[in-house]
Structures are given as structure tokens and as C-alpha cells.
Symmetry: D3
Subunit: 224 residues, 6 copies
């Protein structure tokens, strides 16, 4: 693995990021045409945690966290660290001290395709972390890696500056270039969903509302 850090990345306008932060991941994923969702194995360590911000991408080695320390000081306030460590679960390259350091730097959260430790301290500090597992075990601080190079994680590609949104359902990533239109679709979708739920609460069926009845008939569903 190369050892290289790109310090400058472009980030979307902050107001767009803030607006995205209010949507649910499932809404954004639908609005995005079914794209951007990480594998369902990457989950919040605290289901009430939420995060939204531009990705600072990190590629590290399994069982080592030196490059993650560096990343804390490459990220800017509001950024989310998004780290791959080779799919290794039996050591947590992130713990309480790094959480304190990240909060001192006003970093918004961490998405990691591995484990973290000090999970109760992280919850107490209310730092949003999305990981595959929790492990007691610490790591070495010996090997280098890449910061702000494109990565692939949980089944999708992530570039530095892409917007990462995490909630109880998991994590969805929106390419920076797509943020404007995805937001527009999210707004439309939310309006539509709110109206739909209003109508459903008043007694309309989803079969009527979405025309599923016709689809079911056309496809030949037999009832008795």
C-alpha cells in the first residue's frame, strides 16, 4: 500500500450538507435511485446516533491505526472520517482518546469497515460511530496508508468530499456532484411521503394510493 496524503479536497456547500442531514438514509437512498447504501453490516454503535458530512477517506492496514491518527489532523470541522482497514474485525483502531481528539477537531463522526473499542465512552461522548463490530483489542501504530484517495467500502465507491449520511438504518453516500439533484428529489419524496402517510392515516389503502391494485390484477393475482 502506498503512503500518501492529499490535504486539499473540495467539499459541497455547507447549507446543502446541513439540509441532507435532516433526511433519513432510506429516503436519500430511494431519492438517489437506489444507489449509495453501504452493506447492512455497517451499523451505528448507538442506534440514536446520526451523522452527516463530507468524507475524509482513509485506507489503513488491518490492526494498525497510525494513519487514522494522521487523518484526524487532515480533516476539517464537520468532516466525517470514512476508513477501511482491510475488513479486519478483531481489533479496534479507534477508541476514547481518538474520539476526544476528533471532537477537539470538531469532526462529525466515523464510518469504519472494522471494529472500534471503548464503545461506552464513545456513546457517553455522543460521537457518532458506524462500524461492523466492537472489539476490546487495540492496534499497533506502525504502518502507513492513504488519506483522501478514493476507496471502496461496504460494496460502494467513496471519494473524498462525497457526503456521508448515517442513521439507525445504516450509512448512505451521495457523490458530491449529485448532491443538488438528490436533495431536490429528497424534498419531493418527503413531501410525497408525508402526504401519502396523511392519506393512509385517513384510511386510504396503499393499493389505491400507488395503483398496486391494478398491478396485482394485471399480473393475475387470484383471490378466494
Amino acid at each position: 500500500m502506498d503512503a500518501h496524503v492529499i490535504k486539499k479536497i473540495s467539499r459541497p456547500a455547507q447549507n446543502l450538507v446541513q439540509e441532507l442531514a435532516d433526511f433519513e438514509t432510506a429516503t436519500v437512498h430511494e431519492a438517489y435511485g437506489g444507489k449509495g447504501a453501504l452493506s447492512c453490516d455497517i451499523k451505528p454503535i448507538d442506534p440514536s446516533g446520526r451523522v452527516c458530512g463530507p468524507a475524509v477517506t482513509v485506507s489503513g492496514r488491518p490492526g494498525d491505526n497510525l494513519i487514522l491518527h494522521k487523518a484526524i489532523y487532515v480533516a476539517e470541522p464537520g468532516d466525517v472520517l470514512v476508513a477501511t482497514v482491510g475488513g479486519y474485525m478483531e481489533a479496534g483502531p479507534w477508541g476514547e482518546i481518538m474520539t476526544v481528539a476528533a471532537q477537539a477537531r470538531k469532526i462529525s463522526g466515523l464510518i469504519i469497515d472494522g471494529s472500534v473499542r471503548d464503545s461506552s465512552a464513545i456513546r457517553r461522548l455522543r460521537f457518532p460511530v458506524f462500524s461492523r463490530a466492537i472489539s476490546i483489542k487495540g492496534t499497533t501504530k506502525e504502518t502507513l496508508g492513504l488519506i483522501n484517495h478514493p476507496i471502496h467500502m461496504g460494496g460502494i465507491p467513496i471519494r473524498p468530499g462525497d457526503i456521508v449520511l448515517g442513521d439507525a438504518d445504516g450509512v448512505v453516500v451521495v457523490a458530491a456532484a449529485d448532491l443538488t439533484w438528490v436533495l431536490e428529489k429528497c424534498r419531493q419524496r418527503r413531501d410525497k411521503e408525508e402526504k401519502a402517510m396523511e392519506e393512509i392515516r385517513r384510511g386510504k389503502s396503499t393499493l389505491e394510493l400507488y395503483g398496486f391494485d391494478k398491478v396485482l390484477n394485471a399480473k393475475g393475482l387470484r383471490e378466494e
Copy 2:
């Protein structure tokens, strides 16, 4: 897969269902002679959630939820939707809108051998859901399936009208025809367990209480 809906199913008397609702799944499973428990991978998305009601069974295709929409309107108040979708985890065929629709129909809950999305909304709405996983990803609405045909799920057979009970430990299913005697056994078991716990709290050992001491001796346990 066939496409067929059976609208009329027979359900046990409501007072029996209500009585079962107060028991723990582990008690019912023991009372039932060690039968009826689904695989331990199907768990509540909210550990404080509980559900009890007659099953409306649904067989759908992986990654599609059209037939689940239909099932909301086949089920009657108090019913529990029990759905198989081919063991597919990477898409959630159930979300917030369907939860709102199900609650408008007074459906009691959902058991699914797959994933759901909008998990925080579902928790907020306090709709009990038992699933294998949580996934951000939505589904198509294109393929048919079966409603109220017998299914096999989590290692056991479930017929429409069987009683489904879910709590923090998981889900247990009681065949409609067995409900009366299982309830009787549950009552006996609860009484016996309450008395046992009372005696244990007062200092009696489980070895004495259940005669395990004799079994251990008879089997030749050596102590030093």
C-alpha cells in the same frame, strides 16, 4: 411461485390470544414441549417490543414488496404479518409508510425472515417488528406471491391463524389447535416458576428443588 390469496382464515378466540400475550416466549416454548421457536437470528428491532396475534402468512420474492402491500389489506385488526422473502437480507421490503398503513389497519406487528428499513421511524411509531437485519435499501413492486398459504420460516412450519408471540428473546409460534392446552400448561408453568423463584429467593437451591442433586449423584459426579 404461484400467485394466490386466501382471504378467509380461521382465528382462535380473542381471549385466548390475549391471555397468551402476557407470557414470555421462553415459557410458552417450554410449555409447548420445546416446539415452535423460530431460529435465534430473527430478533426484535426494539428489544422492548412485544407482539401477539394470529398469523397472516405471506410468501414473497427476494427484493420485492408488492405482495406485502396486499397483505396489509387482507389482514384484520389484531393480526400479525408473518412474511418470508427467500432469505434475502440486502433490501428492506417494509418501511415507515407500510408501518403507518398497518397501524391504520390495526395490525399488531410484523415477523419477517429478511430486513426492514426506516427502523428509527418504526421504533418511534412503536410498531413491533422482528427481522433478521436492517437494510437501507428499498425493493421493487413487481412480483406476486402467496397470502395465507402455509409457510416454513426460521426452521418451523407456520399456518395462517397460528398464534405468533414475540418478545426480547425472539418469536414462538403456537398452532391454533394447540392453543388451549398450551395456555393451560403456561399457567401451570408460570405458577410453578413463581413458586420456585419464591423458594429460591428464600434460600432453597435449585438442586434440592428439582432433585438435581440426586441426578448428579446417580450419574456419578465426583467432587473434591
Copy 3:
């Protein structure tokens, strides 16, 4: 499997155990030179639960809990039951009645490489349990086993009288003979970590604090 119980085990001084109880598992694991952590699959059934005490080790057969009943009456107040049952997940050899019995005996908690049932009752009773899974299914009470023989569990060896510490991150085990020096290292580590976090909160980077900047340079990290 043999059937044998050793009743007398030596335990470390109680004040040492009590002191260890205040540390986090991740701290102890680091202080212990990266030793003693169980596999990350063994987790608290209630993330707010914590346990610390000398191990009473139990080796039982899959799907049977007779020997676990016996162990409740071999253990002394403050002890932690640490049980292997052959890696079987689809039955819970521990439930509400055993929890009540264990609390009557002032046992501190249970670590099991299997499942438990009655999980909501266990949570309500605030008895700390660390397990691989939760299962509704009960067990037979027919087969013997070993109590207070050395066991291997979650990747590490555990002897009776070793100190077991569990928290939200998982479980770490300290050999009785190592407890004094591990505690000394824990104290040092905690002091050092608290000072470090204080400095980090004031604005010092972890790169400076730990000299990682020099390591990164020495190893040739390129930045642009």
C-alpha cells in the same frame, strides 16, 4: 467428558478485584500487553451491564444445563460463572430461574460461549450476562461436566480464580497471578490517558503527544 467438581479454588484479594472493576476492558487489555480479550462475538446482553470477579469455570455439553445448576452452588459470593457449552447457540442453558438462584447466592454474573433465554427478565433483574446469542429454547438436564477445571473460550485459556471483567466492549480475563502488576499498569495507563485527553482537549494533537509525526516522517509518508 469427565464429570468432576473442584470445590476449593484460590481467589485474589477482594480489594484487588474491586479496584479492577473500575477500569474499562480496553484499558485492562492494553495494560495487560494485549492479552486476555475474548473473541468479539461474546457480548453483554445489556450494553450498560458490567461485571468483575473471580471465575468459576464450567464445561458443559451443548443443549444441557445440569452442570450449570451445580455451579451456582459451587460458586461463592462475588464469583463470576464462566461457562463453555461446546459452541452451541440454538438453546439457552441459562434463564430467569437460574438468574434468581444466582442472585440469591450473590453471584456477580455469567459469561457463556453460547446463548441465554429470558433475556428481558435477566435485564430487569440487572444480572450481567455476556453471551454469543439469545435463544428462546430451553435445554435438557441430563449430562454432567466439569467445574473449576481450566477451560478455553473465545480464543483464550481461563483458569478458576482468574479475574473476569466485562463491559460494553466485551470481556477480558486477567490471570490471578498477574493481577497486581496489571492493576499497577492500569493505574499508570489511566493517569496517562487522562492527562493525554486533557492535553488533547486543550488543543494538542495526538501526533505531537505520542510522537506519531516523527514516525510518519521516518516511514516516508508523502503529503500534498
Copy 4:
């Protein structure tokens, strides 16, 4: 678990069983309307092994094989033992001696939702075994179980006398009552498939052959 043996079961006519033995599991599964396939985790320990015969069903306890010994002497020549042992993988209740005993009894093979040991001896003896795993570890011979009661295994129900067919793809089960019509469908399917493959080898596309081109157009596939 109860302890009960049913000695007499009805079996389909032998010529029907022999005819089914020549089909592939995938063909039979399709002919059977997509029913009867066990979970893809139950696989042959030797991919060249094949088995076909009436099921003698066995329900045993995890880690014990006493009831399996009994089953060898309940089964008749040509039968297939189909055994559940509670989903336990870390012990093999079947090994070389039982294989020799089963072959002395002219039993056709074994399907087990657990592990076997002595796998190289079993391969050398050319006894077809389909299992979830291979384990070195033996079992106790202490607990009873059920023989020739209905079981549920790998996601489907199996009754004694149902026909079990296993090959490199896995295992499919045909209910005794359905065997005649399933065989008829299998024959039709094989003829159709052979003709189809002949036409495809001569250059016809599957799009033409099955009319998929029209389906693709009707559904609006865009090409460029």
C-alpha cells in the same frame, strides 16, 4: 424431546424411486414448482456423491448420536437417514463405524443438518453423506430422540417416506404423495431441456427459444 420410534412407514413404489434417482436435483426442484430444496448450506462431503431413497427421519439432541445408532436398525435397505441434531456443528454424530453399519444394512445415504467425522473413510467407502460441516469431534451416546416423526430441516418439512434426492447441488425432497406427478413433470422437463440444448447448440438463442426477447421489449429494455 420425546423418545419414540415408529417402525412402520409407507414408502413409494421402488421403480418410481429408481426413476427419480436419474434426475438432477435442480431439474426436480423446477419440476416440483420450486419446492423441496434444502438450504444451500447442506452439501455433499464428496461432490461426486449421489443419493436417492425414502427418508427415515431422525430428531436427535446436539452432540449425541444414540438415536442415530437406533435409526440404522429401523431403516430398511434403500432408505436414506435424514437427521436433525439441533443445528450443532462442532461435533460429528456420524463416522466410519456407523457408515460400515449402515452399509451392512444397505442404507443408501445420510442427510444431516450437522457435521460428520471420518470424512475420508466415508469417501473411501463411497457412502453418500450430505452435511453442513465436517468435525473431528465425537459425541456422547446418552440421549433419546424421535425416529420417523415429521421433521423440519434446511427450511422445509420432511415426513418419513418422502423421497430424498441429493447430488452436487444439494438436496431436494419430494413428498411421497407427489412423486408420480413430479416424475411426469421431470420427464417432460428433461425432454424439453434436451431439445432446448440441442437447438441452442445449433445456434438458436435462449431469447428466441423462450420468447425472452419479447418480454425484454415489452418491459422496455433500452439498448444502444
Copy 5:
């Protein structure tokens, strides 16, 4: 999911593809700077199978194979079908008939992040297939998908025309644009490895050969 087919893709020069075919995947992965390897869960169904060719990428729905049929007729001789079907394992969208069709079209092989069926027929026909699992179950032929759009599979991105190489170790993908220099590195690596193995066979240690002895000393390995 969109429904769109791109028929024309650019492919690397055939002589380059043929040369790559002679290298091992592990060699190519190293030569490629540790890039391009799919997750180790995607494996040959026949360990003696090998494949090399330009990727025709396919994105389909779980449990449906209509778009895979189409892809057989979009691919050109020598191409490799590389298909994602949403990570669904419990149905095999590829079987004997499609294998015959693919061979009639001189397609080189199939890489699929799902299951296949008719595995013994596929082995007998010597068509190289790399999949996550084998399943008896067939699929519907109802839903559309994408052909020759970029996909992400097994942790890496794949574009149409990238070169896919599979052997007993798994699958590695080389971007078309990198093929020339990767081949050059492969040649160098092979020469170096052959010389190295020659020297090792003659008695030289890898510690000497690669200078690891110095590294071990520099890092402070203590021996006794």
C-alpha cells in the same frame, strides 16, 4: 434499477489478454500494487478451472435471471460475464442451459456474486464459473437490469472491458487502461520469483534473499 444495455464496449488487444491468462491471480494482484482482488468469498466451483477475458458487466435483481440471458447475446467470443444480483445466495440464476448457450457463443466464463445451480453439469462441460455458493433453486425471468454499466462487486469496481482473471485462489480484475504496465510488472515478477525459487531450492534463505534478516534486526527481534 434502470433497464439499459450498452452493446459496444472497447476491449484490450487480444494478445495482451492471452498473455495475462498464463499468470496466477496472486502474481497479478501483487504486480498490480495489491489492487483488483475480489473478496475471498467468490471462488471457483471447480478448483481446476481458470478464466481470462474482458468483462461484460451485468446488474440484475435477486432471484431473477432474465437480464443474464440477454447478456449471453451481448457478449462476444472470449468475453467473461461478470454479474451482480444483489448478494442473494438462495437461488442460482445460472445453470446448464445457460452454460450451453454461453459455450455456443464462445463466452469464456462467469463470475457471479451469487449462486449457480446444475454445478455438476457445469463442471462436466468445463465452463469456468466463480460464485459465492451453489443453490438448487431456480429464478424468475421477469425483471430487467443493466448490461455494460460499471458495477461494484466483491469490494472493487469493475467496468466493462476490464480484464478478469480467475483461478483456484479467486478472481482479480485489471482495468483495461492498466493492462500493459501490469503485464510488464507480471513478467518481471515472474522472472524474479522463478529466480528466487531457484535460489531457495539451492539452499538460500528468504531472509537473505529479500534482506529480511536486516529488517528483523533493525526492528529489534530478540532471539534466544
Copy 6:
């Protein structure tokens, strides 16, 4: 992790090792009182491979193989390398060159709780390897580890000089101090098993042979 190598270990007499080599792992495990079997996830990459020899134990970091190179030159002819690398599967710290080096040193084989690469070359060279998985990906050569310190692997403890036996069923480890009596038990067991199989082939049932009939009756098995 410390970095330390112990060069001198004691090994059992070679004739004892050679005698053990002829037994099956399942026989040895039974003869050893049900002890010594590694988890069933550690399997031969070639089911026809067998290995037997004294363990040279290695503890390395995930994703690094520097210490494994060193171990090749610490081991003596006939030894088996037994390596833990932190349970990391997505990189293979052992490949063709190391196999050639190990064979030049007359090392008997490798047991690893991780992955290997170049699996077809390893098979071709007929070097017995037992691993959890196969991975294309290589490793760094940067971090140190321990050689000939006690390790824990696959659920059991292994000390340098313990005898490791691997075959198609998996791996069993016999402590050096127990080898003499375990061999004696193996011989007895083999004789007994051969006689038993002879009697079974002649028509005696296992129920008679082992007295299981009496056990079944005593335990109250009901037949009809």
C-alpha cells in the same frame, strides 16, 4: 506484541511422531478423551493432504508475514508451522515462494488460522496446508511477532513441540507429554474399531455390540 524467538524447543521421539501419523484425527481425538481438536473452520486446502509433526508456533500480526519467513528458518526438518495471525482472512501470508522455502527446509506442513494464496501451486507441490480460507491478497513484511511461545488457536492451546496431526477432517493437537499414552489408547482404539467393524460387516448391530439396546430400554425409548 512482543518480538521474541525461542530457537530451542524439545520435541517428542521421532518414532512416536511417525506412529501417530498413521492414525486418523477423529481416532486420536477420541483416544485423547475428546481433547485437542481445532475448530472445524480450519480445513485442508487439499482434502487428500495429511500432516504430522512437532509444532513450531508463530504469532504474527494480521496482514503481515515477516515473522513467518523467520519461522521457516527456526523450524527443523519434520516440524509443522502453526501460525496465528489475529483471525484475519482477507490476505494470505503464505504462498508459493514460502512453500518452496519450507520444502527446501523439509518442513512438514502449515496450520494457519488465516488464509493462504497460490493455492494451486501449493497443491501441485503437495505441501499440506490447513487454513480458514484462501485469499489472493499478499501481505506486508514489516511487523515482528513471537516464535515458539505458547499460542491459542481454533479454541485450544498449543505449545511448541506439541504434536499436530491434520487430515481431511481437520486438525488435532496432542501435548508432547501426553503422546505416549495417547498412542497407546489409539492403538487400542484402532484394534477395537477394526474388530467392531469386522463384526458389524458380519451382521452384528452396533446396538448389540456396544450395549446401546440396553441403554435405550433403560432410558425408556418407546417403539411401535
